[in-house]
Structures are given as structure tokens and as C-alpha cells.
């Protein structure tokens, strides 16, 4: 008789239709009981060939498509694309537009982080926390709708500036919404973060060391939760971030709880940024108008932006025509999810679901 009783491994397809894969992510797991032995990522179920589509659209026509990459933070996607185009064509952006971009971008970040918090706690079955976060997000979406006209796939930031000015009495609306947001976040924090069961489910689970995170090219909150302070808004300031006083929260644990908690901290920083940007909002034009058939000179440009999930990069190659010769998106979630097979072995299914939720993936951006 052998020293230990033998167990039998079996495989389980977690996804693509599964409640907690946040879209159509598919993990092929080998399990021993409920413990994961190995994991294989299967992605691409949402692949829409966006990079190919870009080659048959003009630069302006493709802009709305970019908000469908990371559909939870559409405004930031369009901003990244706009910055790449501005680099490509050497277009100047009016100052007021930069401030408006910061306002809309940070509101979008808050909304996206709230979705992350909500979906993370619902994956741990804290249903009430989920409702709290989504109710808070509703207020932010109302603000975004008031400015941009849409709630999800925001197409507000275009190459050269923004398309609309702020509506009237926007500042007082923001003030009210933020008050509400703060009290809701405090409720949420008390309800979820301090909960013993929640901490037991998340602390020390799915730890990503900073070295591993860098090796896999992780960026964004997930990297900052592992103790690496890398945030383009601070480290390579674009737009007007160098004029705004904010902090980049850094946590050291690298576990699921830290990845969750850093989102909460970042929301507070984004609130600060929006408030300062509203205070410092200069007057002036909104947009450097580009011609309809805009033809940048042949060449290439790489525009990066600190998106909600990490550093997003748009690599655009122009051949002098009105359509891009090649458009490539460097998607942060694509790198973030690549780490899953590395950290999955040893986790149970429950922990896997929690860890996956904390990585905050958006399949629209991964599959492109």
C-alpha cells in the first residue's frame, strides 16, 4: 500500500459560460478535488478583429471603436487613442480640453473601479456590497452622461480636444454626487473590507510577488498592489496631471485583498483629482479642429495612457493616407490575465474565482 491514498485528477472547463469569468474568459483547469493542479487560459471568444477593422476606417471613424475595447472605461480608451493621434500629427490640445479630459477620464476611472469592487464582492457572494457599489456607480454615470451624452461607450475625447463643454451647474452636481459617493464608499468599506469572512477569503490568496508581476508585464492597480509604484500619471505625466496634487496608493501584499483594497484607495484619489481639475478649470477653446479627411504624415506614434487596468498603449503606423496603415493596442488586461496560469496551481476553485475577480479583467480589451 502506498504511503498516501491516491487521488484522481480531473479537468474542468471554467467558462466561457460561467458566472464569474467576467465575460467569456475560459480557464481549462486540472483539479485534484477542489485544488487546482494546472490552469490554461483560453481567450479570444470576444475577438472582433479591431486591429484589422482600423485599417479600413479613417482615423476619426475608428475613434468610437476604441471605446469598445475596455467597455468599462471607454473614455480612457478614446483618450489614449486621441493622444496617439495627436503625437502622430503633432496636434496641440487646448488647455481647457486637457482639464475636461482629466475630469471625464477620472470619473470614468471611478466608475470602472466601482464595477471592479462590485464584481469582486459579488464573486464572494457579498450581494449587498455589490448593490452599494453599483448604486454609487450610477451617480458617476449620471455625471458622465451629463457631460458626454452616453453612459458606457463614451466617445467624448477626440484627437485635438473634446467635443462638448460642461453642462450648466455641473460643479454642484459633482459636489453632491461625491458626497454621496464618499458616504456610500464608507458604508461599503465597513460592510465588506472589515468583514472577517471577506478577509479570510482574500488575505494571502493568489499572491503575486513584485518580481513575477514585472516579469509578466503587469501594470496598473494590480502591479501597485504588489508594491511597485508605477503610474504614468505620476511617472510620465501627460495632460495636466503634473499640475494636480494626488497620491498613487501602493500596497505591498500582492494578494487578492490588496488588489481589492487599492481600487478603493484609488477611487478616493480620483475624487481628489476631479475636484482639483474642476477648481483649476481654465476658459478657452475646446478643440483643435482637424479636417474631415485628416492625413497625418507617414510615420508612427506610440501613445500611452494610464487606464483603469494598467498602461494602455496605441501603436499607430501611418502611410500618409487617411486610414491607418496599422493600428495596434497594447492591452493591460491581456498582460494581467497571462499571469493566471502562473498563480493558479494550489488555489481552490473558490480562491481562483476570487483571484480572477481581483485581477479585474475586461475581455473586450483582452480579445480586441
Amino acid at each position: 500500500m502506498s504511503d498516501t491514498l491516491e487521488t484522481q485528477e480531473y479537468s474542468l472547463n471554467l467558462g466561457p459560460q460561467h458566472p464569474s469569468t467576467h465575460g467569456v474568459y475560459h480557464a481549462r483547469l486540472r483539479l485534484d478535488g477542489e485544488t487546482i493542479v494546472s490552469c490554461e487560459n483560453v481567450i479570444g471568444y470576444l475577438h472582433r478583429g479591431m486591429e484589422k477593422l482600423a485599417e479600413s476606417r479613417t482615423y476619426a471613424q475608428f475613434a468610437p471603436f476604441t471605446s469598445r475595447f475596455d467597455y468599462l472605461s471607454g473614455a480612457l480608451n478614446t483618450w489614449g487613442y486621441a493622444m496617439a493621434l495627436e503625437k502622430l500629427g503633432g496636434v496641440a490640445v487646448p488647455e481647457r480640453a486637457e482639464y475636461l479630459r482629466v475630469i471625464v477620464g477620472e470619473l470614468q476611472r471611478i466608475a470602472s473601479h466601482l464595477v471592479m469592487l462590485a464584481s469582486m464582492v459579488i464573486d464572494l457572494n457579498a450581494v449587498t456590497g455589490w448593490m452599494y457599489a453599483f448604486t454609487a456607480r450610477e451617480g458617476i454615470l449620471d455625471l458622465l452622461e451629463a457631460v458626454t451624452g452616453s453612459r458606457m461607450t463614451i466617445n467624448y475625447i477626440v484627437a485635438g480636444g473634446v467635443i462638448e463643454d460642461l453642462p450648466s451647474e455641473f460643479e454642484s452636481k459633482v459636489k453632491r454626487t461625491f458626497e454621496d459617493l464618499r458616504s456610500r464608499l464608507a458604508d461599503f468599506d465597513r460592510l465588506v473590507s472589515g468583514n472577517e469572512i471577506f478577509q479570510g477569503r482574500t488575505k494571502g490568496i493568489g499572491v503575486i510577488e513584485s518580481g513575477t508581476a514585472l516579469e509578466f508585464g503587469m501594470t496598473g492597480p494590480n502591479l501597485r498592489a504588489s508594491g511597485v509604484g508605477l503610474d504614468l500619471r505620476k511617472d510620465a505625466p501627460y495632460s495636466v496631471y503634473d499640475r494636480i496634487d494626488f497620491e498613487v496608493p501602493i500596497l505591498r501584499g500582492g494578494d487578492t485583498f490588496d488588489r481589492y483594497y487599492i481600487h478603493l484607495l484609488e477611487i478616493h484619489q480620483s475624487v481628489r483629482i476631479v475636484e482639483q481639475a474642476l477648481d483649476g478649470l481654465p476658459s478657452g477653446p475646446l478643440r483643435t479642429k482637424l479636417p474631415k479627411a485628416w492625413k497625418p504624415a507617414a510615420g508612427e506614434a506610440f501613445g500611452t495612457i494610464e487606464s483603469t487596468r494598467g498602461i494602455q498603449g496605441y501603436h499607430i503606423v501611418s502611410d500618409g493616407s487617411e486610414r491607418p496603415y496599422r493600428m495596434h493596442l497594447r492591452s493591460p488586461a491581456f498582460a494581467n490575465i497571462a499571469i493566471v496560469p502562473e498563480i493558479a496551481p494550489g488555489l481552490t476553485i473558490q480562491d481562483f474565482v476570487a483571484t480572477l475577480a481581483s485581477l479585474d479583467i475586461v475581455l473586450g480589451e483582452i480579445d480586441r
Partner: protein, 142 residues
Amino acid sequence: MREGAREIAVSAAELVATMAALKALGDFILFDIVAVDRPERYELTYRLLDRGGEGRVGFFTVRVSAEKSGADEPSLPSLVGVWKAADVLEREVWDLMGIRFEGRAGLKRILCMDDFEGHPLRKDFVVRRTPRFAEAQEGGRP
């Protein structure tokens, strides 16, 4: 090097050694690989994120070309041994642009389906309405 050019071009043979040397400097992480289908060659841009400059972050670009010879599949040495991030990035380039990376395992499609035919980002890829799968439509797909 940091103060000098932010961009270097290397040959395919030197790629791995260059990258390993850059990694040994300690502050670079592999950020992205972009492949562009130029008329006469495939141009690959390896973008590294440089965290070295006193709290400032920059990007460092390494360019390498894969020649379009008569064979369908141009190839380059793989960087999986240097950065683990290269795994999915190289699979993406292989999937969409059809550049084979040598010296690594598990180079298979990542975004398109496993039985997809062709490499969609190549300029000679013809976009059709019907999907291209190895098996005919009426044949029961698994």
C-alpha cells in the same frame, strides 16, 4: 544608453542577446510587441518599459525585421526565455501576423480559433463574410 537613443535596431540573430543584456540592467520590462506588415518585410517593434530614470518612466524600443522570403512563415528567435511576458505577446503576433518564433513551446493561436486559416493582420489577407475554418460548415465542428 538611457540618455542616448531611445530606440535601437538589431538583427534577428542579436535579438535574444540584446534583450537579455537589457534585462540584466534591471529596470526594463517587456511591454509590447507590434508587428507591421511592410511590403518587403515584417517589421517588429519590441517596446520595453524603462523604470530606471529617477521616478520617471520611459519607453525603449528595439526594432527587428523578419524577412519575407519565399516561405510563408518568417521566423524570429523567441524571447520566452528572457521575459515570461513574451509568451502571450509572441502567440498574438503568430496568430495575427504569422511570424513564427523559434525556440519555444506552445506557439499556438491565442485570439483566433485554433482551426482558423490565415493570419488576419497580413496585408494580403482577404476579408470575407464567411468565416474560414478548416472544416466545411456542414461538417460537425467539435
